[in-house]
Amino acid sequence: MISIRGLTKRFGGTPVLDGIDLDIADGERVVIIGPSGTGKSTLLRCVNFLDRPDAGTIKVGHVSVDAARATKHDILALRRATAFVFQNYALFANKTAKENIMEALVTVQGHPRDEAARRALAVLAETGLAEKADSYPSALSGGQQQRVGIGRAMAIGADLMLFDEPTSALDPEWVGEVLELMRRVAQQRQTMLIVTHEMQFAREIADRVVFMDGGRIVEVGPPDKLLDAPQDERLQRFLRRVG
């Protein structure tokens, strides 16, 4: 169970997140949509403290953090309960595909190397990249890098997986394979919070869709209701624009 309460973030006085409340059930897939610059990515980045929120509480599994009083220890615990998939993949450039996946298992979770290597190879097989295990990120296509990025997040066994526009930086030809892998992750009943502009994908994968605008959650609902019968005028306008 994930619970976010009153999450607030300002950049230089300007509020980017203005009191976000959001609950996510175990195994639930929540997709966040909304115009650019509306705080979607910041919300994700605040959930694992890549950006430090100014106020609010975040509860992921057994970890509960109050932003105003968060210690280093709290932040590490929260990050270890979550996994993050970056828009620009952010694979470790000095490590092979396999080592990228092993890194959290060995360094953070303390598993023996051989066990971590076995797990990494199993995850790579799931992402369809078994034969790329020893390739460095620079030798992989954008789509392949992002699949390794998702694999890195899968291997951790996090309570919550965060996806920050995972297909936005990709050439169109690689989008399909990344979405396909995300569907596989969803089938494993992984709790997912996804920021995306892929409306068709949102409709298909989401249990609930969240529409954000101006740093607030404006409307929440199941995809067919929210996308086909939007209530809020801003959401209606947004949906007309993205077609």
Binding site: L50, R80, A90, F92, T107, Y136, S138, R152
Partner: protein
């Protein structure tokens, strides 16, 4: 101008070569120590530990701002007068200490610049999987910074090898000290110092070849 005494020079080569191991030993030990110290200093400069930062800034400023020869004299002749346990310090140890501290100050700045050159997304990816700051530095940031800083660090190593010649002023008989002794016996100063100059040159050139191989190796993760 009288002709060079080639036979004397050729005879001198094996004599001086015998001191190459000591020169390389001092340079290698000082380089390893300086790398470790410089990495620590550089990381501190990047994350700025409160209460420690000013000390690091002062350290770097002092060891960059004063001549190596002065620092060596300070350690070898000066410190034992005020710090009693240093009275046993020998010239080789003092030279290694001096080279380490002196070059770590320069190398710290090179490594600090390289650390800030590592893409921000690499830091964030490390944080996102729950690494501590130390783990992030050791496993992700420093290895990538090392690649960026490698050409500069090799240059400092070359400088350091040549810097070991100053150890002769502390009474250490290394390549330079040995040459000095030979020359003052034969009075063939030009021949003797020409030989030692060429030997330093050969050592440095050999290392420069190694540098190319090192850079190829370090770039292998990034080559397409």
């Amino acid at each position: 101008m009288p002709a060079l005494d080639i036979d004397y020079m050729l005879g001198l080569v094996p004599v001086i070569l015998g001191y190459v191991p000591l020169t390389l030993f001092m340079a290698a030990v000082a380089m390893v120590c300086a790398l470790v110290l410089a990495s620590l200093l550089a990381v501190e400069r990047v994350i700025r530990v409160p209460g420690l930062d000013w000390l690091v800034v002062l350290f770097i400023s002092f060891f960059r701002g004063t001549p190596l020869l002065v620092q060596l004299f300070l350690f070898y002749y000066g410190l034992p007068q005020v710090v009693s346990f240093l009275t046993q310090i020998n010239g080789v140890t003092a030279a290694i200490m001096g080279l380490t501290l002196h070059f770590s100050a320069y190398m710290a700045e090179a490594i600090r610049a390289a650390i800030t050159g590592v893409d921000r997304s690499q830091w964030e990816a490390a944080q996102s999987i729950g690494m501590t700051q130390a783990q992030m530095m050791r496993r992700i940031v420093l290895p990538q910074a090392g690649r960026i800083a490698a050409p500069t660090l090799v240059n400092y190593f070359i400088d350091m090898i040549k810097g070991t010649s100053l150890a002769f002023t502390l009474g250490v008989t290394e390549m330079m000290g040995a040459t000095q002794k030979e020359a003052s016996g034969s009075f063939l100063y030009f021949e003797a110092f020409l030989v030692v100059a060429i030997l330093y040159w050969v050592i440095v050139e050999t290392l420069s070849q190694g540098q190319k191989r090192l850079e190829t190796h370090l770039n292998k993760a990034y080559a397409r």
